[in-house]
């Protein structure tokens, strides 16, 4: 009995080791033959310079096989190595594009190839001559020579990129396994730039729909008034400026940490216009310290116009708007010093702020000023809430100009914002239910159809 068991065990061990040896042989190499269905085409939705190679998934795809790509500018070569990938990778389903722009599957390989990496751009003739003159030692160039070489390279690069998109490139794919290699037929394509990014179609539809809604509401706003809920902070502007007038102390208005190219600063300047009108009306002193000269220049015009509209052009002074520093804490130190000395009766913080928010508001609180913060900087909201008398947060910054001016056209756009939010909330609710159902029922395509329009931008 013992002998039978021993023989059985030995036989089993022999079979196992033979199987493992065979498996090891398989892992080292596999029988390969040329790939089928190889096509080359322009990579879609790009600026050009990329070719997309596609071929069918092969029965021998696995760890033992690698695909190597070769490229040439001529049908017969010479061939340059263009890249490689493991045969169990680079499927068309790995390309992450939304369903309306791309259909991928595990039955097909898709590999983008960047032309500029295979055929690097040459130097312009003048640049090449200069580099040769100095034996390649660019550190010996004078500033002018460096500029010439760099400009030459930029021009050469531009011409080269335009040239790429007019040149036909040839490709072949070799399936390699150990010492075996099987090359495909040669295919060719010309890269081209796309003029529309189809993956962003959803984004375009949302943007146009929103714009249409806003413009429609603006048109209708002229004939209909919309209700705006009360924003205590904005109602308190009159009270704050009145207090400043009574006490004979200035009003400080800060436009935030960003320059005029950011929408939050632009929104802040619209509020400044309304505040300036009120300071002109009540005869209060207004001071607007700036972190950026461009913002200062724009605010200068806005304040001047506001004073003129109120019939008080004589109250306007050029030094209402002044520049301090673009450095975050240099600006904060200067503004804090000014507030500590001037002891303003009212401080307005309108715009986007970073960590200087608490430094400014604490000093404002210590001098006894009424403080109104109007900001979309959500990270700073806790600091504003605890130190300011009133805080207007998030999108209310953008609605403030409509609220203060009561212009029906501007109020109409606020309604558009509300409609946009309702759409988003409905989409989230429907999406959650749809994705939950799709996940439970293993409807992966359905889940993709639901998620792609909201995750692909």
């Amino acid at each position: 009995m013992k002998l039978k068991i021993t023989i059985t065990v030995l036989l089993a061990a022999a079979c196992l080791s033979a199987g493992m040896a065979r498996a090891e042989v398989l892992a080292e190499s596999a029988a390969v033959y040329p790939v089928s269905g190889l096509t080359a085409g322009d990579m879609p939705y790009d600026a050009g310079g990329f070719i997309l190679l596609k071929w069918a998934a092969m029965p021998y795809d696995g760890l033992a096989v690698q695909y190597k790509v070769f490229s040439s500018t001529a049908q017969d070569g010479p061939w340059l190595f263009a890249g490689s990938t493991r045969s169990d990778r680079a499927y068309s389903s790995d390309i992450k594009l939304p369903f309306w722009a791309w259909t991928g599957s595990k039955n097909q390989h898709a590999l983008p190839v960047e032309i500029a990496k295979i055929f690097p751009p040459p130097l312009s003739p003048a640049a090449a001559a200069l580099v040769e003159k100095f034996g390649g030692h660019r550190e010996k160039f004078t500033g002018r020579q460096n500029f010439e070489v760099e400009s030459g390279e930029v021009r050469a690069r531009r011409a080269y990129e335009e040239g790429i998109n007019r040149t036909r490139y040839f490709f072949k794919v070799a399936a390699v396994s150990g010492a075996q290699s099987a090359e495909s037929a040669v295919v060719s394509a010309v890269p081209a730039a796309a003029w529309f990014s189809l993956p962003r179609l959803n984004n375009l539809i949302y943007a146009l729909a929103l714009a249409f809604v806003f413009l429609w509401l603006i048109f209708h706003a002229k004939r209909k008034t919309y209700f705006l809920r009360r924003l205590a902070g904005l109602d308190a502007i009159d009270e704050a400026i009145g207090r400043a007038t009574e006490m004979g102390r200035p009003v400080y208005y800060m436009t935030g940490r960003y320059d005029i190219d950011k929408i939050s600063t632009i929104a802040s300047t619209f509020i400044l216009a309304e505040v300036a009108k009120k300071t002109a009306r009540y005869g209060a002193q207004l001071k607007v310290p700036h972190a950026y000269p461009m913002t200062m220049a724009v605010c200068q015009e806005i304040v001047k116009q506001a004073y003129t509209e109120e019939g008080r052009p004589d109250y306007f002074r050029e030094d209402i708007n002044f520049f301090l520093s673009s450095d975050q804490f240099a600006y904060t130190a200067a503004a804090d010093g000014l507030m500590a000395r001037d002891k303003p009766a009212a401080c307005f913080y309108a715009g986007y702020y970073y960590s200087e928010s608490l430094l400014l508001t604490e000093v404002g609180a210590s001098v006894g000023a009424i403080q109104i913060a109007i900001t979309d900087a959500e990270a700073q909201l806790p600091f504003f809430f605890t130190t300011c008398d009133y805080t207007i947060m998030g999108e209310e910054l953008y609605a403030a100009s409509a609220y203060l001016s009561k212009d029906p056209v501007l109020v109409g756009t606020v309604r558009g914002q509300d409609l946009g939010k309702i759409f988003v909330m409905a989409a989230i609710a429907v999406g959650i239910i749809a994705v939950a159902v799709g996940t439970v029922c293993h409807w992966s395509e359905f889940v993709r159809v639901v998620l792609d329009p909201v995750t692909s931008f």
Binding site: R138, E139, N146, E153, D327, Y354, S355, Q380
Partner: protein, 273 residues
């Protein structure tokens, strides 16, 4: 009752003095507290760097100024140490003019520790203005934006930049961000358009704002505040300034708790007794 009112309206200067004392004491006499617990967000950055094959190129953007020295600088040093230890090529740059000194210091110091050679193992490209334009151009051709590095050495042909043409060619990118421009610009103009792996290190105030990006998978990891820096130092086994600072941070946090609990207790006493 007068005492309670006086305590509830405690002079700020007494509070400031208390803060100074509780921060100073652990610095002068460390308590040697146990290490911080590692969180998934920080581990994401660590694991990504661990998974990179030696010789891979990592782009590090030092987007902070001296105000980030307590929390963001230690994490950038820790990540650079990790990258050099893994024999990765480190390409440094920054989008903040006032951060060049710190970026230079972080790279030079850590490279020296591991015997790494400039131009061969690491390079510092320097600062360029207009973040959106810089990132967009880097996504196409880094040599047009940086024809020379910070020290005016031509970048073309540098061994450390071998095989690098654009942002797509970097295996990984870490942005140390203390404000604007920072992670959001890198995501909008970089990762979203050109598709490369990116992680972020940031200050405490910015961390909640960047969590949605971590949650949605747009960044692979997030090192937040001095605690995140201390976690990373613990992961690489090299406790440094962040770990040392955590004791002072602990004491400061508990002072806040003490004051807040005390104020609410006094309010309760005032209300009911």
């Amino acid at each position: 009752m007068k005492v309670i009112d006086k305590l509830l309206n405690l002079d700020r200067r007494i509070i400031f003095l208390s803060v100074l004392l509780v921060i100073l004491i652990p610095i002068i006499r460390p308590f040697n507290l146990a290490g911080v617990e590692i969180t998934g967000a920080v581990k994401g950055v660590y694991d990504t760097i661990e998974s990179l094959p030696p010789g891979s190129a990592v782009l590090v953007s030092f987007d902070y100024d001296p105000s980030g020295k307590p929390d963001v600088y230690p994490m950038s040093v820790a990540v650079c140490r990790h990258a050099f230890r893994r024999n990765l090529r480190v390409v440094g740059m920054n989008l903040w003019a006032s951060g060049t000194g710190l970026a230079e210091e972080a790279l030079r110091k850590t490279a020296l520790e591991y015997g790494r050679e400039y131009k061969k193992d690491y390079v510092y490209l320097g600062y360029q203005p207009q973040a959106e334009a810089v990132i967009t151009q880097l996504g196409k051709d880094i040599y047009v934006m940086y024809p020379t590095d910070y020290y005016r050495n031509p970048t073309r042909g540098m061994p450390v930049l071998d095989g690098i043409l654009s942002l797509r060619d970097f295996a990984f990118m870490v942005d140390f961000s203390n404000g604007h421009p920072g992670l959001e610009e890198w995501l909008i103009y970089g990762a979203d358009k050109f598709g490369f792996k990116i992680a972020c290190g940031c200050s405490a105030v910015s961390e909640p704002g960047f969590r949605p990006f971590l949650n949605s998978g747009q960044i692979v990891g997030l090192i937040g505040a001095m605690k995140g820096a201390a976690e990373y130092e613990r992961l690489i086994g090299m406790p440094d300034k962040a770990t040392a600072g955590m004791e002072a941070v602990s004491m400061g946090h508990f002072l806040i708790l003490f004051l807040v609990f005390g104020a609410n207790a006094l309010l309760l006493v005032k209300k009911y007794f």
